[in-house]
Symmetry: C2
Subunit: 354 residues, 2 copies
């Protein structure tokens, strides 16, 4: 039996704390892992006390996951050096804009222990003007260790409350996949694995674009069969996008929680759908900023910016013709296309098309 893995969660936000909770439930019962789970805390003061002290004394992250008891073997550690030097399995779950800087900070505290692996729970992907960058690739580049990804149809608060949901792990090495599956799998949080690190992340990021199209459908008062047609085409274009940009893309992810399940929940409810419906009800004449201010207290929508970035990547790669739904969604959202254009893209096609 190999030495038990020592797990550290990098990030103590809502999802980080929920993930750390279920991981700490598993490490005490599995021989593959050391009981203690560290959670790196970017120290801050909350209600007059240090956040790490609140976590370690009250066993609750009162700021980011209030009301949920955390296991006693989960400890908040503000010292990155201790986290890095004492751990060999990192669960990275921080906002996307901090991934690179945090990885660099980890390396400054290194070296990482031999055999270290990493799994990213970061939401999103990076869309540059012409390319698609995965956070797993960014982490592998910085940390020089293998990196898996986890995504799926789940919500931090519900996972913390132990409501049933699922997630998908994308992997390259089967051995690492099995280890991470054991680390995350709970009776209320079931994990399945696919050999498609990119697919798991791309679906998780670009589903929000499809949700914008689904919201247009709602706002136009179209029926459930029309909306299902939009979601179906969205699923197909998501898979095609993976294929175009990543050579290992597999259809398997479609059948998983990170694939069709996450797409369904995101297109049925959620802020992207609600705001896009409002946009369509106003015939595209109400600005996204006004909608965000009214409906999201000024928070930003992900689906609209994703639509814009995806469009630019497609254009730079001469792929506009092959993604009619992604493109029409962008054109309605940003170039004055009327929301009713949405279904016109289901134009005549032959047997081989799409």
């Amino acid at each position: 039996m190999a030495t038990p893995r020592k797990v550290c969660v990098i990030g103590c936000g809502n999802w980080g704390s929920a993930a750390a909770k279920l991981i700490a439930e598993n490490t005490t019962r599995l021989p593959e892992f050391d009981d203690t789970v560290r959670m790196w805390v970017l120290e801050e003061v909350y209600q007059g006390r240090k956040l790490s002290e609140i976590i370690n004394t009250d066993h609750e992250n009162k700021k980011y996951l209030p009301g949920i008891k955390l296991p006693h073997n989960l400890i908040g550690v503000p010292d990155m050096k201790e986290c890095v030097q004492e751990s060999d399995l990192f669960v990275v779950v921080i906002p996307h804009q901090f991934v690179k800087s945090t990885a660099k900070k980890m390396m400054e505290c290194g070296p990482l222990r031999p055999g270290t692996i990493c799994i990213s729970l970061v939401k999103g992907i990076v869309l540059t003007e012409s390319d698609v960058i995965l956070f797993t690739d960014m982490l592998e580049d910085e940390l020089k260790v293998p990196c898996l990804a986890l995504s799926g149809a789940n919500v931090a608060q519900n996972v913390a409350m132990e409501e049933f949901s699922e997630a998908t792990i994308g992997y390259k090495s089967k051995e690492h996949a099995l280890l991470c599956q054991k680390l995350f799998d709970r009776p209320y949080f079931k994990i399945r694995c696919v050999p498609d690190v990119a697919g798991v992340q791309v679906f998780g990021a670009i589903k929000n674009l499809v949700a914008i199209a689904a919201g247009f459908c709602d706002g136009l008062g179209l029926g459930s069969n029309t909306k299902a047609a939009i979601m179906r085409l969205g699923l197909k274009e998501l898979y095609k996008f993976c294929q175009k940009f990543f050579k290992d893309a597999s259809k398997d992810v479609v059948f998983e929680s990170a694939g069709v399940a996450d797409l369904i929940t995101t297109c049925i409810g959620g802020r992207n759908v609600r705001c896009a419906a409002e946009f369509a009800r106003h015939g595209g004449k109400k600005s996204w900023t006004d909608i965000e201010n009214e409906m999201l207290n000024g928070q930003k929508l992900q689906g609209t910016s994703t639509a814009k970035e995806v469009y630019h990547v497609l254009k730079a790669n001469n792929l506009v013709e092959e993604f009619p739904l992604f493109v029409v969604t962008y054109k309605i959202a940003y170039e004055g296309g009327h929301p009713s254009e949405l279904i016109k893209q289901f134009s005549v096609y032959t047997l081989e098309d799409f």
Copy 2:
């Protein structure tokens, strides 16, 4: 250019009349087809007049598709002999229990013209104690001509009102597929084709079983991520069912209207979901008959009988272990399993499982 095909719709119900309408819209503008479309009418008297006379005088099927104007080139023909002898493309759209007898009746009026083809819009499949029989196979056996299938996320009334939806044609011969695509494709009814006659029919029939499971979810008050997990697993088992029973099963159908789209709409709304939710709210203690009487005016649910038939077919083929969702749905519906058993079947599995 070949002689134009002469089309006859066998059946004049709700879906038959809506299909005949869009077909007749197409035949007048396409050189591949003779303008006239016959619709075989099982003659009956409605409001003191013969149904065929109403259709041919008022250009409306007042009994089965009231309020919708039918094209003048669509004629109701009560004489099966005329239908059979004057046509070489049959669209069969009759209730499943009448398929065999109607095909026999057609043959009595034969012979069918050389080169005749047939496309089935019949809903369902036949599940015997140990086997799965497709209506396309039944029609091919009886009529001795090639038979395609059409299914998808669409509702007769909405198609008649020209609300946008899609459908999928399952084919063996590409030439026949292209011809049928032309016959059915309208700006408001888009057709795509897959080389999987079985898949198109199996998804259309067994989706109702998954909708029962989705309804249990609703009745238990579980969240959208749990329901998405059920639908995802349903999609996977539907595909696996096709694979086990039909050697040509293709993953393609999953991405089509007859696949994921029809599953989504069926699991989100509809009678199967509503009745199953009621069943779960009563902890399985209220009988299906009572539920049908109260909620469907005594009409029968399809999903429950499908669940029972599928279970028997799986059992006879030693496949119970491989279809946990289908099986648990049956056990809850018929063997006193508590609805909460539903999520217990997401038990621990390894990387290779499912």
